[in-house]
């Protein structure tokens, strides 16, 4: 049992003064300035490299994903290096203090930011394990979109609605995540078109196929496949034409679907192929007067 009598007070005061002096020795203006400078330089370097990578990747789609991956690793490397440099600067020649304060901070911050640290480690694991990569189209829970950044704390996904969603990295270690393109620039897009079972499905299939292969977004190095099947929908008994095609760039996924759907619908109307709706309706457009996309049937020619 320590006797904290009045005689001990000067000793305690001295000890506190020493400790305070040590802290002052560690945290002084010069060191703080150096640390701030290092952090600032790391930030500038990160911004510069990110900008350079973005700029370079913009005109080169084939390198875009690779450069984004490199950017992720570079960001991680810059911040880790900066952290190491800051710690070295602050605790230069203070190994004991470094150990002590490091351990204290480690435990303290570890408890306080348990989830954050977990996310940080998960971020490193994601970068190494690569269940998905920057630029991939991923489905995570209800969120579907393009991974724009794999950060130290979270993964940022831009959804098709152009919302940026941040998901903590540690979530990806426990939950299921689906990557549509897994690192490739192109990805498969599945489109379904419903027509009435009484319509000319071959013509419809050809229209859908040609709409796909002539789309400006289609990636033709991989095959375009077509499937036709009859299906009972909520409203009618319909024929479904399924088109599976690859888009040249994941960012055009929605645009690809839109482009194909627009042109298919236009061609369906022009060729009088109706949708499987029980009720008749009529929608007209001035564009439909253009006869350029009307399919001529060779059989009809023979019949004529």
């Amino acid at each position: 049992m320590i006797d904290f009598s009045i005689n001990m007070l000067p000793i305690i005061a001295q000890a506190e003064t020493d400790q305070f002096a040590k802290i002052l020795e560690i945290i002084n203006v010069a060191k703080l300035s150096q640390a701030a400078f290092i952090i600032f330089m790391a930030w500038v370097l990160n911004k510069f490299l990110a900008s350079a990578f973005d700029k370079f990747a913009e005109g080169n789609a084939s390198l875009r994903l690779l450069l984004k991956k490199v950017a992720s690793f570079t960001r991680l490397a810059i911040f880790v290096s900066a952290a190491v440099l800051v710690v070295q600067t602050m605790f230069e020649g203070q190994d004991e203090a470094l150990l002590g304060i490091g351990a204290t901070l480690g435990i303290g911050i570890g408890f306080a930011l348990k989830d954050t640290l977990s996310s940080l480690m998960s971020g490193v694991l994601i970068l190494i394990d690569q269940p998905f990569q920057v630029g991939d189209r991923v489905q995570f829970g209800d969120t579907y979109g393009e991974v724009t950044e794999i950060g130290l704390r979270s993964v940022r996904i831009v959804t098709l609605d152009d919302n940026e969603v941040s998901i903590p990295n540690n979530k990806f270690l426990t939950d299921v995540v689906a990557s549509a393109n897994s690192g490739a620039l192109n990805m498969m897009v599945v489109m379904k078109f419903y027509i009435s079972v009484t319509e000319d499905f071959e013509l419809a299939k050809r229209i859908v196929y040609e709409a796909c292969i002539t789309s400006k977004y289609v990636f033709l190095s991989k095959p375009v496949t077509m499937h036709v099947r009859d299906q009972v929908t909520d409203v009618a008994y319909a024929t479904v034409i399924i088109c599976k095609a690859y888009v040249i760039d994941t960012r055009y996924e929605s645009a690809f679907q839109t482009d194909v759907t627009e042109r298919v619908k236009r061609a369906f109307r022009k060729n009088n192929i109706s949708h499987p709706y029980a009720r008749e309706f009529s929608v007209r457009s001035s564009k439909w007067d253009d006869q350029s996309e009307i399919i001529e049937d060779p059989k009809k020619e023979i019949a004529e």
Partner: protein, 1056 residues
């Protein structure tokens, strides 16, 4: 009264004393017998003496008291005489009376004592009488015995005298010997010490000398630098090397001298050792019983023997000390010798040729002496190190338990490695499968499956040896921590595993998989394997034989290679750089000739055939000679020479194909060329850029020759590519003869010269009787009806019910006389939209169905053709598809020079020439040629061999200076890439179709017409596009053609 008392006492005392004194001389000697009697007598005498002494004591005390009393009495008497007071007198009187009474008492006591003394005296007398009697009885006996004893003693005395005389003689001798040994020891010690001191001094001097020499050599050698010139080698390295060699020879003599010394010491030590052992044995024999009492002489002899042993031991120790000192010194010399040897080995590679040839001269006796000494030294080192290691091992292991512990650790490690191996080997198939999968996910390997499969097979066959190698290496590393010499074994393991791995790799690349499976080194499905093996055994027999020969050759070469590397290195490591190691190296490499002979003789047929194929054109006679003489006895040498020829051409071809003609090499070359010129002309070109880009100052007639238009043939400006035209003419000839598949598709980028080629073909075919129709498709005809109408017009067929249908039209065309149809810009039959393939499909079907009757030549835009073929292959519709390759450097240069020659202008390349001072006219001309070649190479690379682009940039390179056209580097306008994607889709549509109007672009790209028109106008304004006809169709300009295509290709928008 007093006097009386005193006398009586004295008398008593005197009497007693006399009694005692009288008795004493007559006291019988104990040796003469009557022991008991004498004992009693003595006791009585003692008792009496004791009593007498007591009486004396009492008498003295009594006397003292009496004197005191006497003194008191005298005092009292004086007092009385002085008439003292009565009271005092009374007291004193009383006291006097008391004293008198007391005195009387003492007197009585003295009387009693006197009586007692008398009794004692009587008793004493009685005892003396008894004693005298006893003494008389024994006297005779004693005298007899005494006589006998005296005689015996006399005899012994005589004998002792004799022995003493002898002993004195021997002792004298021993003393002399002892002195001699002492002198010898002194002499030995002083002589040896002096010798040792001299030797140590000499050794110290020698060591100092060696240290100085070592420092000197180290200083000189540290001044060596990389990249000595031959002169510097002679001036700097050679003297040091020579000194090193001389010093080593000197040290060699020193070492020999030391070794002889050691031999002498060894002999001396052997003698000393033998002497020492003899002496010790002698001592052991003579003085084995330590408890036995020794005579003085014997003691002296023993002492002398010990002394002699000490001397022998000392001598032995001195020799050993000298030996040890010598060893230490020799060890230092050997270190110095090792230093010299190391430095000689280090300097040897950089000495001049003269010094090298001198040192390695096989006719020099000194060199051989040095070399053999190196061998001896090496062997000594090996032996010493082995012994040293055993000593070290003993020191490390220390005890049996340590050894056991080490062995246990080794065993544990082996078990660990064995378990690890077993565990890892189970995962080997999974690992290879995983790597294979990973490989195939890479585009590079996915498009090269053969390479990927070979790589995985290589991995599969080498992974196990590599794992084994790692395990062995791990174990030997552990052993080498205790025994570093085990590292030599690692060399052997390295060599063995290297051999195994290389051979396995060769087998993978050379043998078919089923054959390796048969050999047991590949895993193939068994049924498939057997099936393939059965089917291929006969077919592949020759191939297998060839493969076997290849593997055999690889084995020979790898074995030789390993031997040639490891053996000379090992020899040099052991014996150092000398004429022997040099000879060994030469001998090993001499085997190369034998190896060459073996391999060439095995491959002579193949080599002869290859040589025949390669050299027939140039050296027909030589080729025949090789083939004819290959089986002669000297055939191998002929084939050997032919092999060099073959190797030279193969290497040249390989370098040309894979280095010089590669895109990257060209790009790097052009980049360097451009940068050099840019750096030189940067300042000069400031302010002139705009004028040059526009080419406004160029003469119009000059510019007209380089307009992007097809040539009207015949023209002197036309440069023919024989390869292309011959391909067309050849197919035409074939069609003429066989009437089969008379259709050719010519595919090329815009501005490549497709139209000019078609005109050239038409010109050529005019010689035939056939009707030729040359048409350029200017409008989009993508509807079936439009195409049918066009075909009817083409063949001048009337529109009828029959010809309204495709089949009817085909029948009608078949009835037409054969004709040649040349159609330019056939990509206008296609548009990338729904239904956009109909026209093209119909045309291709038509051509395919009628090309037996008619000959078709159709030209397509490269990107259109690439796209429609990617959607569905269409090459098979034609008899031949001629891809329009990029114009080569020479062709481009020729085309431009021809057009320049048409004018009076001869562009000068002087501005591009890198400044060289002091060059004469010949050099200048060479520089001009080199520069112009460099310029055209750069132009060709940038334009991608596209003629219109090349001519556009050629004009941009020129500027008019005083009516003289000067060539400078053309600037490359940069494309502004930060445009909206839709703009790029507009450009994609235009590039893919050649020319498109805004409406057509909107249909193709599914964009608003207004946006497309706006975009096209913007591109026209920026010189990216240009309107090419009255339909306001836009096409890419040559100025931005390459930049646009590059961006579209990078973005995956365009297929090419």
């Amino acid at each position: 009264m007093k006097v009386q008392d005193d006398n009586s006492v004295e008398k008593i005392e005197q009497a007693a004393t006399e009694a005692v004194q009288v008795e004493q001389p007559s006291e019988p000697e104990p040796e003469l017998g009557a022991v008991d009697l004498l004992g009693n007598y003595e006791a009585s005498v003692n008792e009496l003496s004791k009593r007498i002494s007591e009486l004396k004591t009492r008498r003295q005390s009594l006397q003292a008291d009496q004197e005191k009393r006497q003194a008191r009495l005298s005092e009292l008497e004086r007092i009385l005489e002085a008439k003292l007071p009565k009271r005092v007198v009374r007291v004193e009187m009383k006291r006097l009376v008391d004293l008198k009474l007391e005195n009387a008492f003492h007197q009585s006591q003295l009387i009693l004592l006197k009586d007692e003394f008398s009794q004692l005296a009587e008793e004493n007398a009685r005892i003396q009488a008894d004693a005298a009697r006893v003494q008389n009885d024994e006297k005779v006996k004693i005298q007899l015995e005494e006589k006998t004893a005296v005689e015996a003693a006399q005899k012994n005395l005589d004998e002792a005298k004799d022995a003493e005389e002898r002993a004195i003689g021997q002792m004298k001798q021993l003393r002399a010997k002892e002195r001699e040994f002492a002198e010898r020891l002194v002499e030995l010690t002083s002589t040896r010490k002096k010798l040792s001191r001299d030797k140590i001094t000499a050794d110290e001097k020698n060591i100092e000398k060696m240290s100085n020499a070592e420092i000197g050599f180290s200083t000189k050698i540290s001044a060596y630098k990389a990249g000595f010139t031959s002169r510097e080698r002679m001036d700097v390295v050679d003297p040091v090397f020579r000194d090193l060699v001389d010093e080593r020879r000197r040290i060699r003599l020193t070492v020999d001298s030391h070794k002889k010394d050691f031999e002498v010491r060894q002999a001396e030590f052997d003698v000393a050792q033998a002497h020492f052992i003899t002496l010790r044995e002698d001592r052991t024999q003579r003085f084995s019983d330590e408890n036995k009492s020794l005579s003085e002489l014997e003691t002296q002899q023993k002492k002398l023997l010990d002394m002699e042993i000490d001397i022998a031991d000392k001598e032995r120790e001195l020799i050993t000390a000298e030996y040890k000192s010598g060893i230490e010194h020799l060890s230092r010399i050997e270190k110095y010798r090792d230093f010299l040897r190391t430095e000689i080995d280090k300097s040897a590679p950089i000495i001049s040729g003269v010094a090298s040839s001198r040192y390695l001269d096989v006719t020099s006796k000194d060199n051989w002496i040095d070399a053999f000494y190196g061998v001896e030294e090496g062997l000594e080192r090996v032996v010493f190190r082995t012994i040293g290691r055993f000593v070290q091992v003993d020191a490390v292991w220390g005890s049996f338990f340590n050894l056991l512990w080490w062995l246990a650790k080794l065993l544990g490690l082996i078990l660990l490695v064995a378990v690890g191996l077993r565990f890892f080997m189970r995962f080997v198939p999974r690992i290879t499968t995983w790597i294979t999968r990973k490989l195939f996910t890479q585009n590079f390997f996915a498009t090269r499956p053969r390479l990927a499969i070979k790589l995985t097979e290589v991995l599969r066959v080498v992974i196990r040896p590599i794992v084994w190698y790692t395990a062995f290496f791990f174990l030997f590393d552990f052993v080498a921590q205790t025994l570093p010499e085990v590292v030599i074994l690692v060399w052997v393991i390295d060599a063995v595993f290297l051999y195994l791995i290389l051979i396995r790799i060769v087998e993978v690349f050379v043998y078919p998989r089923w054959y390796r499976k048969k050999m047991g080194s590949a895993s193939v499905d068994e049924e498939e394997d057997n099936d393939i093996a059965d089917r291929s055994a006969d077919l592949m027999g020759k191939e297998i034989n060839r493969s076997k020969k290849l593997v055999w050759s690889a084995k020979i070469v790898i074995t030789f290679w390993i031997v040639a590397i490891y053996v000379p290195n090992f020899i040099e490591l052991v014996i150092g750089f000398s004429v022997i190691s040099y000879t060994a190296k030469i001998i090993v490499w001499s085997f190369f000739l034998f190896l060459f002979f073996l391999v060439v003789s095995r491959w002579k047929n193949e080599l002869a055939n290859i040589f025949h194929d390669i050299a027939t054109e140039r050296e027909a006679a030589g080729a025949d000679f090789v083939v004819e003489n290959k089986d002669k006895w000297y055939g191998v040498f002929v084939i050997g020479l032919a092999s060099f020829y073959v190797a030279f051409f193969e290497i040249k071809r390989w370098i040309s194909t894979y280095v010089i003609e590669t895109e990257i090499f060209t790009k790097v070359n052009n980049f360097l060329f451009r940068k050099k010129i840019e750096m030189q002309t940067k300042a000069k070109e400031a302010g002139e850029e705009e004028a040059r880009e526009d080419g406004e100052h160029l003469p119009p007639m000059f510019c007209e020759l380089f307009v992007n238009e097809p040539l009207d043939l015949p023209s002197e400006l036309y440069v023919e590519n024989k390869e292309r035209t011959d391909a067309i003419f050849k197919l035409f000839s074939t069609w003429t003869e066989k009437k089969r598949q008379g259709s050719i598709a010519i595919i090329g980028e815009q501005g490549m010269g497709k139209t000019t080629l078609l005109r050239r073909v038409k010109l050529h075919l005019l010689d035939n009787d056939l009707v030729i129709r040359f048409e350029t498709i200017e409008e989009k005809r993508r509807k079936r009806g439009e195409v049918l109408d066009y075909i009817r017009d083409l063949f001048e067929i009337e529109r009828s019910r029959k010809t309204q249908t495709f089949d009817g039209l085909v029948s009608a065309v078949h009835e037409q006389p054969s004709r040649i149809i040349i159609l330019d810009d056939c990509h206008h039959f296609f548009m990338r939209q729904i239904g956009g393939f109909d026209g093209l499909e119909l045309l291709l079907n038509f051509v395919n169905l009628t090309d037996e009757k008619h000959f078709y030549i159709l030209a397509f835009n490269k990107f259109t053709w690439a796209y429609v073929n990617r959607v569905s292959p269409r090459n098979h519709y034609f008899g031949s598809v001629v891809e329009f390759p990029p114009w080569s450097l020479n062709e481009l240069q020729e085309i431009i020079e021809l057009r320049c020659a048409e004018t009076a202008y001869l562009p000068s390349f002087s501005e591009l020439i890198l400044t060289h001072e002091g060059t004469d006219s010949t050099d200048y001309f060479v520089e001009v040629v080199k520069t112009s070649n460099g310029y055209f190479r750069y132009l060709q690379e940038f334009s991608g061999g596209n003629l219109s682009v090349a001519m556009c940039y050629w004009l941009r390179s020129l500027h008019n200076e005083n009516n003289e056209l000067r060539v400078s580097l053309f600037s490359r306008p940069k494309l502004w890439t930060a445009m909206a994607d839709d703009n790029w889709f507009v450009l994609t549509a235009i590039a893919q179709h050649g020319t498109l109007s805004a409406t057509e672009v909107s249909q193709v790209a599914n964009l608003e017409v207004g946006f497309c028109a706006l975009a096209i106008n913007y591109f026209v304004e920026k010189q990216i596009c240009v309107f090419c006809d009255e339909h306001e169709r836009a096409m890419l300009t040559p100025l931005f053609f390459r930049q646009v295509l590059k961006h579209l290709d990078n973005s995956n928008y365009l297929y090419a």
